[in-house]
Symmetry: C2
């Protein structure tokens, strides 16, 4: 668990236990798959929903199904990601897909997603919860589909990228912190700033993720550097470099090339780095971080608020 | 549209229009995929939900979101099926997977499933609807996963088969007719017999499907004969033949063999047919049909009841 979650550590552990129970099954295949999934993970979405709830009439029992459901939706998307990426490892462990193949992965993804529904269904008195979570889930799939359908398409601009990232990542993170507050009865003056905060840190989170893909060691993020380039995902640093690189034509050629060898991936990474694209992207992420913090000023001064600041700072400097 | 749906034809066409609108998107890739999906299909689940609703205070506006949602859940499962089966065609048209690959399929499946949630969320005053539909969806995925994980496993008995079929097929069909009634305010004395009726015709539907896989022409069902055998799916006729075939050992060997050539598939089909497995399976399906009709006797004599009888008879003799 991240140190910044120390203040909600006990509650997060209870959520973790619940998550484990929900994923427990008698089917040996499902069992292996879900335990694979269950290992690791920052539990950012459950943590955010707990922190959001602190701004209402906090009650762990009230928030627990939501916290678990949000992590399940995230897990389902990770499994589908692995089908798309042909990833064989995630967080250093083999993926569900690597062990069982695409058919199982697609179904386990949907199974886990469906499990989240039974949890969300518990909030029948609070229809905003099912509406916002369903919307976030749909947009997440749309973002993912958009990412696949525009892979190797170097004609994408910064705006396309932002729309995609909002859908793929930011909306679920935003829903987590907003719905935490909603579940515990907080009013619009509370849950709307939290939603905007969540959107901003979600955007920053994905941008830093895209930067890390060009920078981090495999041992830190558990996957090889340059995997976005290999899959043809056009990320912010690359879009910037298309405009600024002295070797623009070569970079475009490399980006569009469906099969790249190790040397070509390295060459593309160096072209991206050399034109200042990493610095630029960090600056964009930092702007989102600053904006997220401005939203926090609308909220009462609770210990949870300090943690939300810490999360923003963590995303700003994270290396994994 | 099936002739037996003539009595609800206008309402089914309105549901069809709604389905089309829900699947409409500006993303060209999603557009192509969903229009592929949208073509064909018996619309059994929407029809059943409309018929169930006739036993309550019938209101098409009330039932429409449910009818569409149920078809979406079914579509999502079809897409995932195609990932599992490596099917390149369905109903004679190319599958989403054949055109776009597994990654897109997995995500489009989840996208379509998520779309169903926003529709189900409209029944916030009627929590049974979200509970039953979520349960049916989860079990459907479990059934699918069970099917994959037990493929080529000739140790399965009739009981394993029935559990799997109930999950994979019967529960969603059962939920369709039950929840139609629930959405229009019918009481337990109505929606419980409808649920049991739905379960029985769902079981019969899958059993006849499994028989058709050994019998039908490709032009009738839009897929090659023997595809279950090729995929290692252990169906009722095969389980029966394991017990009764004079060439049991050869059949077991063929069933377990992961790669089979055309001749071996034909040989297995003949061994299955020769021992009376088709007749036996039809008899089992017919028992479910009879049981489904007995449930109908608990219901008031409305025109919809006649259609439910017709559907049961259609499943009994269907060739596609």
């Amino acid at each position: 668990m991240l140190d910044i979650f120390n203040g909600i550590r006990d509650d997060l552990l209870i959520v973790e236990e619940e998550l484990k129970q929900i994923l427990e099954t008698k089917n040996p295949l499902l069992e292996t798959s879900t335990s694979l999934l269950n290992a690791g993970g920052k539990r950012l979405r459950p943590a955010l929903s707990i922190l959001g709830a602190k701004f209402g009439n906090y009650d762990l029992e009230e928030i627990k199904p939501l916290a678990v459901a949000l992590e399940l939706v995230h897990m389902a998307s990770l499994i589908h990601d692995d089908v798309v990426d042909d990833s064989m490892t995630r967080r250093g462990a083999p993926t569900v897909k690597a062990i069982w193949g695409n058919g199982i992965s697609a179904n386990i993804g949907m199974y886990i997603f469906a499990k989240s529904l039974t949890l969300i269904a518990k909030y029948e008195d609070n229809p905003l919860i099912s509406k916002v979570s369903a919307h976030a889930s749909i947009k997440m799939c749309e973002g993912e589909i958009q990412q696949i359908s525009t892979s190797f398409d170097s004609g994408q601009g910064v705006k396309d990228y932002f729309i995609r990232v909002k859908r793929k990542t930011a909306l679920l993170i935003s829903a987590s912190v907003q719905l935490g507050a909603v579940a515990c009865g907080a009013g619009r003056n509370i849950h709307l700033p939290l939603r905007r905060y969540g959107n901003c840190i979600g955007m920053a989170f994905q941008i830093t993720d895209d930067i890390l893909d060009l920078e981090a060691d495999q041992k830190d993020i558990g996957k090889p550097v340059g995997s976005d380039l290999r899959q043809g995902i056009i990320t912010l640093p690359l879009i910037y470099a298309f405009g600024k690189s002295g070797q623009r034509d070569r970079l475009l050629e490399l980006a569009r090339q469906v099969e790249k060898d190790e040397g070509e991936v390295q060459e593309a990474i160096e072209l991206i780095r050399d034109c200042g694209a990493i610095d630029y992207s960090f600056k964009v992420a930092r702007k989102y971080i600053e904006k997220s913090k401005r939203e926090l000023t609308f909220l009462p001064d609770l210990p949870a608020k300090k943690t939300l600041y810490d999360i923003a700072d963590f995303i700003d400097v994270r290396k994994y």
